[in-house]
Symmetry: C2
Subunit: 280 residues, 2 copies
């Protein structure tokens, strides 16, 4: 049976492109927001969901982090990284390059900042809700417009491609996580993601938690703080470490951590992305 | 002489409102982006600049963090927090509440999510570059439109206010930093912000750095990671601690940290925001 995967839409987003690379034969259910992708998985409408979690230039995607913090039914089942390539396109019948407006998602505009400053220094930039929506906005615009989006969106919407790969940094890549209602089995090269918070600002509380990993020589891939929704100055820490939560040492570290924190949620253990093995 | 402060524009943004609260008599120079506020200060066009650095719901503002990491001329001179209140407004002559489009900045739309789901479940949401631009977009729209923005923007643009304080969480607040070409003097209740990175992923490297603070009972206000622009998986850690960099213990900790890291930049020491003393 063909699996159905919930994905951030509309058609032509990077997440859709990512899903096609990850699971070429899956059915794709397009959802309007990251939160609704999470809800579809959490409510068992689909088995899996794919959302972006981090971009090498733009940083973390707050909506995805909050989804994991807030929904106890959601786990990370897998992760993968795809390079992001931005395509500048214009409406099929636009003559010349006298573009008045360039539409894109604010993160995409930011990722092409130097290119735009050099080639379109005075052109108005207009924010769209996604790169796919930008291509739509370009089509609906009454003035000579361009959009920055995926190559796929240019093809879907039969737009004229002006330039490909206009991103400022060639190492622009996005990490996606595959959400499910359970995490993954031990493979030997795993990663575990979790979050912790503390009752009050005790000096050294975070240091104590990280110490549990240093003690066992467990590599931390990432530490990040998110403000709690209660107040500025109170944080939840999101931590990625190497290894599986059922590995003896990680399991011991987690038990010790549980006693040092007021809140601990393990988002799951899953195979660590290996850039040399693109198709898992 | 009246000071001029560079501020994220256009007129009617929260940053403008914040600047008026922080320095009621200052001249305001409106800049189009956060990066251009930083450049105005760095190039000595203005002495001070004000940019948002963190929101209690939306998290950090990546553009501000990158500005501090990248520009060695910029320092944090001060900080302050203001509560964010969102106002829903419509064009003066729009009849009834049959709104087809609601414009706002994506972060503002996210902060009013529950309100919008309850009162405007099927209304199209369109992203604008700022809440002030949203009010402009509402005015230029050819269909019955509304916008979410500041109370001040509603007044400036003579819009009809539908509802005030529509944000989902009453503790919604934004922290702003005042940028200058030097940091601030010791006041006794200070905060120091800095960033570090490491040559390679050595287990315990971050733990070691945090240990310098735990050793001296220095409270850490915040730890956050930002991906470096080189690749996913390599991070710069941004840390806030209590105290001034010229305090004996912090100065000693910084000297020890310098030896443990491949990159250390101190963004500055400045008076810690005191919510009980609104006008410093």
């Amino acid at each position: 049976m063909t699996k159905t995967i919930s994905v951030l839409g509309p058609s032509g987003t990077f997440t859709e492109e990512a899903c096609i690379r990850y699971a070429p034969s899956a059915n794709i259910a397009l959802c309007p927001t990251i939160t609704s992708v999470g809800a579809a998985v959490s409510n068992s409408e689909t088995e899996l969901g794919i959302v972006p979690i981090e971009n090498s230039l733009g940083g973390s995607v707050p909506e995805t982090l909050d989804l994991l913090i807030d929904d106890p039914n959601l786990f990370i089942y897998d992760e993968f990284v795809i390079p992001i390539s931005h395509t500048l396109m214009k409406k099929k019948d636009t003559v010349g390059t006298d573009i008045e407006i360039i539409f894109s998602h604010p993160q995409a505009l930011a990722q092409c900042k130097l290119f735009l400053e050099k080639h379109f220094p005075t052109t108005q930039q207009v924010a769209s809700l996604s790169t796919a929506a930008a291509v739509q906005d370009m089509h609906n615009s009454s003035v000579a417009s361009a959009a920055i989006g995926t190559h796929r969106a240019a093809v879907i919407h039969q737009a004229d491609i002006i330039t490909e790969n206009i991103q400022d940094n060639s190492s622009n890549a996005t990490r996606f996580v595959v959400l499910a209602r359970q995490d993954n089995k031990i493979t030997g090269t795993d990663k575990t993601s979790f979050c912790v918070s503390f009752n009050e600002d005790t000096p050294g509380a975070l240091h104590d938690v990280l110490g549990e990993f240093a003690k066992h020589d467990i590599n931390l891939a990432k530490v990040e703080s998110r403000p709690t929704k209660e107040s500025l100055g109170k944080y939840i820490f999101l931590i990625d470490c190497e290894g599986h939560r059922n590995d003896k040492e990680i399991s011991a570290a987690m038990n010790n951590i549980r006693e040092k924190t007021s809140f601990l949620r393990i988002f799951g253990s899953y195979p660590r992305w290996d850039p040399h093995k693109e198709n898992k």
